[in-house]
Amino acid sequence: MDRMHFGQHSSSQFNEALESIRNHLMEMGGLVEKQVVDALESLLHADSGLAEKVMHTEEKVDQLEIQIDEECARVLALRQPAASDLRLIIAVSKAVSDLERIGDESAKIAAMALQLSEQGESPRGYVEVRHIGNHVRNMLRDTLDAFARFDADKALDVAAEDNEVDLEYRSAMRSLVTFMMEDPRAISRVLNIIWSLRALERIGDHARNIAEQVIYLVKGKDVRHISVDEMQKQVKKD
């Protein structure tokens, strides 16, 4: 049904440009999602080969970021998009930079995984990494789904999830700090875990940012910097 609407555009080249931007965004989203999954695996299983692969994917992600931004700039310059087309371009170009940062954070996790695989495993913190990691992975998957389907309700769910991740992150910090106080010999290894958790928490924030762009795209409402309750009110209003 979507193709039909694109087909209605008076200019078929414009249709193609918009479709290409969306396809590239989804390609980049898929790559980044894979990066997050692999980074987690490499950390949990001390798999240095996988960690290196994650860091390698970075280049491809960066290239896509540049390519999509170029495509967006071209559409803005040549087509002067308005209304939903304009919101699509704005949302994509913002989502792209969040995706790129998610890639960066994954690379950080992979770097920690490399260090840990050299130092020997950390005695604590894997449960938290697994738990928060899964949570954040799902958020990223859902936010990309929401983008592909223009689903504002799903985007709203992602934003709500981010609050939970923040809570889990704080509680994990408390228990890891307590652990370090009890066993100072483990500090350097536990710190690697803490930094990985921090990276995961940031990935959650970026997933939420993308979800906010989805809401802007679908509803035309800017829901940044407000509470989830406020967002809910704004989205349900019409």
Partner: protein, 296 residues
């Protein structure tokens, strides 16, 4: 590229193939009904022009259906829509330009402040001094630049002395941003100017009689981009003293110059909203379709 391969598979499983699900995003256009009432904010407090249930007919053909709209003081309102949607017809009914067409009938309430435009006692010449019009093609009189501008004030007896008239001509030409270009050749024929200059001369001629409202019917469609930019600049300056209603085919122009935008579709007024709203988040699906170029 096993990564890409597996990604493709996963995306297909997750149903995340872009460009297949779009149902909430862009409603189907062909079935979109007209709204029962104009959506958005067609009405204002204390408007300059108050128009209610305006219908315009050409013989048996109804060109405008029940349009109700307020035009605010010192605002620029852009009337946009596909060709044949009635925006020019509507604009022309605002200073009874349609009177010149025999088969044309206008009904409804059309008020300029408290005055009924279609009152039988209304002096049309006086009305057109209060509600001036600039046309698509520059149409200077075959007279000198000076006489083009002085024509209105002379006709309406606004200037008794040569000195007053000189001043009026200069002020109008200055306001139209043309003075510096023509001050040394005021008595050269107006038709010798460039297209953009001619159009600014026509604007000077229109504002020389101090109208309250200026109607512009695609004033830039015959001009190059630089002349267009000058006219747009001029429109922004003119709002300090006048109310402006502009019909334009260029949506970018509507977006640049206007405060409010009214979208017409097949003789109906579909939506009126702040220009920002219309171009970023239009309320009605037909407006969205037109703005994004999905028909027209």
């Amino acid at each position: 590229m096993d990564t890409a391969q597996s990604l493709d598979n996963r995306d297909a499983e997750a149903g995340r193939t872009p460009a297949t699900q779009d149902k909430d995003h862009r409603p189907a256009m062909q079935d979109t009904p007209y709204p029962e009432h104009t959506v958005g904010h067609p009405f204002l407090d204390d408007p300059k022009m108050r128009l209610r249930d305006v219908n315009v007919f050409y013989a048996d053909n109804q060109a405008i259906h029940n349009v109700s709209l307020d035009i605010g003081k010192n605002e620029v309102i852009a009337l946009i829509g596909p060709s044949g949607c009635g925006k020019s017809t509507f604009l022309r009914s605002l200073n009874r330009m349609n009177d010149t067409i025999d088969i044309c009938r206008v009904n409804g309430e059309l008020f300029l402040e408290r005055q009924d435009l279609y009152d039988s006692k209304m002096d049309v010449v006086e009305l057109r001094a209060r509600v001036g019009m600039v046309f698509q093609k520059p149409n200077p009189f075959p007279k000198s630049i000076y006489d083009n501008v002085a024509y209105g004030p002379r006709l309406h007896g606004l200037a008794d002395k040569k000195y007053d008239l000189d001043e009026m001509v200069e002020t109008s030409l200055r306001k139209a941003g043309l003075w510096d270009e023509v001050k040394d050749r005021l008595h050269a024929p107006g038709t010798g100017l460039s297209g953009g200059q001619q159009q600014r001369l026509c604007i000077a001629r229109t504002i020389a009689v101090s109208p309250e409202v200026v109607l512009m019917d695609e004033p830039c469609s015959a001009l190059d981009p630089i002349a267009t930019a000058k006219i747009e600049e001029l429109i922004a300056e003119l709002t300090e003293s006048y109310t402006i209603a502009i019909v334009t085919h260029s949506m970018q122009q509507a977006a640049r110059v206007s405060h409010r935008t009214a979208y017409f579709h097949l003789g109906r007024l579909i939506e009126v909203n702040d220009t920002d709203t219309v171009f970023t988040k239009p309320e009605h699906a037909l407006t969205e379709a037109y703005i994004t170029g999905r028909f027209g």
